[in-house]
């Protein structure tokens, strides 16, 4: 199992982590990783079959906005490896996929305090003009849990499916839940930081207007933006008879 375990961990490293540095190629999907694992472990046909079925299973779970779906990559890799190495049939392998994907995403949530904390250093480095440190942060944030992920995939293949369950047993449930609660809260901190840069007294009402339109009328963000453009056009008086904008000379609202 030593060789195959190493191969699987390596496939996860390239497709599960570095794909995001190569331009989010979407090569981390089961349709790619399952055939690759199949090829490397000597059963291309099983890889192709599982690639097709797992891709269908995970078709809807893509990261839109900031929603983080189950980890289809590790699911694709491990299911294919189990099917080929342990002789599971395709159906059994597919049944394992969702739990594995959910466990792996919980594992990366476990690291989100570290990566989030590191990203909080970025404004400090920027303010000091330390551009090289910002570049370093980019790599550090991305790579910091790669060795652990590598080890987990390796162990999951080496020790079989029990290993995945064991990893989860070690960490108390409330810690995993707690980190996912925090992760679900943190985007609004990002907005607050952005807001600190652009909000002015005269713009604050529009922040609340955008909030209320979505809160009460469930208007999606694109709709809110379009409404905002119309309000902006009206407020600037572009279609009014009088000549617009000249009055706006000498910005009067940055006294916030």
């Amino acid at each position: 199992m030593f060789g195959p375990a190493l191969i699987c961990a390596f496939v996860d490293l390239v497709f599960g982590s570095f794909d995001y540095q190569f331009g989010t190629l979407y090569g981390f999907r089961p349709i790619v990783v399952a055939p690759v694992v199949g090829l490397l472990l000597g059963d291309v046909q099983m890889g192709l079959t599982l690639g097709a079925s797992l891709e269908l299973l995970f078709l809807g779970s893509v990261s839109i906005g900031a929603y983080v779906p189950p980890d289809a990559t590790s699911a694709g890799i491990l299911c294919t490896a189990y099917a080929i190495l342990l002789g599971f049939d395709a159906e059994t392998a597919v049944a394992l996929a969702m739990p594995i994907g959910s466990i792996m995403i919980a594992l990366s949530n476990l690291f989100s305090p570290v990566t989030n904390g590191l990203s909080g250093l970025a404004p400090t480095y920027a303010a000091a003009g330390q551009d090289k440190k910002i570049v370093g942060l980019h790599w550090l944030i991305a790579l910091i849990y790669v060795p652990i992920k590598f080890a987990v995939i390796y162990a999951a293949v080496y020790f079989g499916s029990d290993a995945v369950g064991w990893v989860l047993d070690v960490v108390p449930d409330f810690v995993l839940t707690g980190f996912s609660i925090a992760a679900n809260m943190l985007p609004v901190m990002g907005f607050a930081m952005l807001g600190r840069m652009i909000f002015t007294k005269s713009l604050m009402p529009f922040f609340f207007l955008g909030f209320l339109l979505t809160a009460y009328a469930n208007i999606p963000v694109l709709g809110v933006a379009l409404i905002a453009v119309i309000i902006g056009i009206e407020k600037a008086g572009i279609f009014d008879q009088r000549k617009p904008a000249l009055a706006a000379e000498g910005d009067d609202d940055d006294d916030f």
């Binding site: 990203s119 970025a122 707690g178 979505t214």
Partner: protein, 283 residues
């Protein structure tokens, strides 16, 4: 930091320091391609966005370290978009930074414009890439895989990524062009202020809208017994939907204005999350 007598950037009125090559390179550099590599919940693509345009910022602010630092600070701020569209916004940001360096544009306007663009462009970009091109690519790839053809994954990757890379490279040039044309034309006609005013309104409303949509934690404390049981979340949502997220946004905003570092806020949030999960009052 630096002393008071900093030299302002000596960009002449019509001088362009950004070359076509700079732009195209930025569309395929470490930041642009790694838009989701250093992704975090709090900052999302901010760091990568800064990396994408960093070289060009350095050129624009070559004689002005303090201006450079301020520009870096602007561009590590929260950013999130369909990754393939990020270079387009990068192009716009660079054209604006050229104006900011010359003192012809308010610095905060560049973040207003970025905020105004991220929601709408992601809406368009996600539908084009994730729900259109990806599905076409998957459909063809799966049918090839099912017939046992090893070209399946390759065909899938090509269909998805050829348009993606084309858009990056076209996007950065188009973004810069649009930015320059709009800003130069607008400046002469006095339209600049109008555009900036609209960008400010759109940016703030989009942040408001996302504050409702992107706060996913809920309070699970229950009141009452049996059929009358209701959660605190329901009660609060009855007062105003999304009030919890808005409240936290307010708290973060207030704490940041008290100069509390984001690092502590993030660690605090993590600790809060674990405590909340332990006592079971949030989920």
């Amino acid at each position: 930091m630096t002393s008071d007598n900093t030299t302002p950037t000596e960009l002449k009125d019509n001088e362009r320091v950004i070359t076509h090559q700079d732009l195209v390179r930025s569309a395929v550099n470490v930041g642009s391609l790694g838009m989701e590599f250093s992704w975090t919940y709090a900052n999302q693509m901010g760091i990568a966005f800064c990396l994408m345009i960093m070289k060009m910022l350095k050129k624009i602010y070559r004689d002005d370290p303090e201006g450079y630092a301020k520009a870096l600070e602007r561009h590590v701020a929260f950013f999130n978009i369909t990754p393939q569209i990020a270079p387009f916004v990068g192009g716009i940001a660079i054209s604006m930074e050229e104006k900011i360096a010359k003192g012809e544009l308010e610095p905060e306007s560049v973040n207003e414009v970025k905020a105004a663009l991220m929601g709408p462009l992601s809406g368009i970009g996600d539908s084009i890439f994730l729900t259109c091109i990806r599905i076409v690519a998957v459909a063809l790839g799966i049918s090839l895989c099912q017939s046992g053809n090893p070209l399946g994954p390759i065909v899938y990757l090509l269909i998805y990524n050829v348009p993606a890379f084309w858009l990056r490279i076209w996007g950065v040039q188009k973004g810069y062009e649009v930015g320059v044309d709009l800003l130069t034309g607008a400046e002469k006609s006095g339209l600049m202020d109008v555009i900036m005013q609209i960008a400010g309104i759109v940016g703030c409303m989009v942040i408001g809208s996302m504050t409702k949509d992107m706060f996913w934690a809920t309070i699970s404390v229950e009141f009452g017994i049996g059929d009358a049981a209701t959660t605190l979340q329901d009660v609060l949502d009855g007062i105003m939907p999304g009030i919890v997220g808005l409240g936290f946004m307010g708290i973060y905003y207030w704490l940041l204005s008290k100069k509390i570092s984001p690092v502590w806020l993030i660690l605090g949030t993590m600790a809060f999350g674990v405590i909340a999960a332990f006592f079971g009052f949030m989920e």
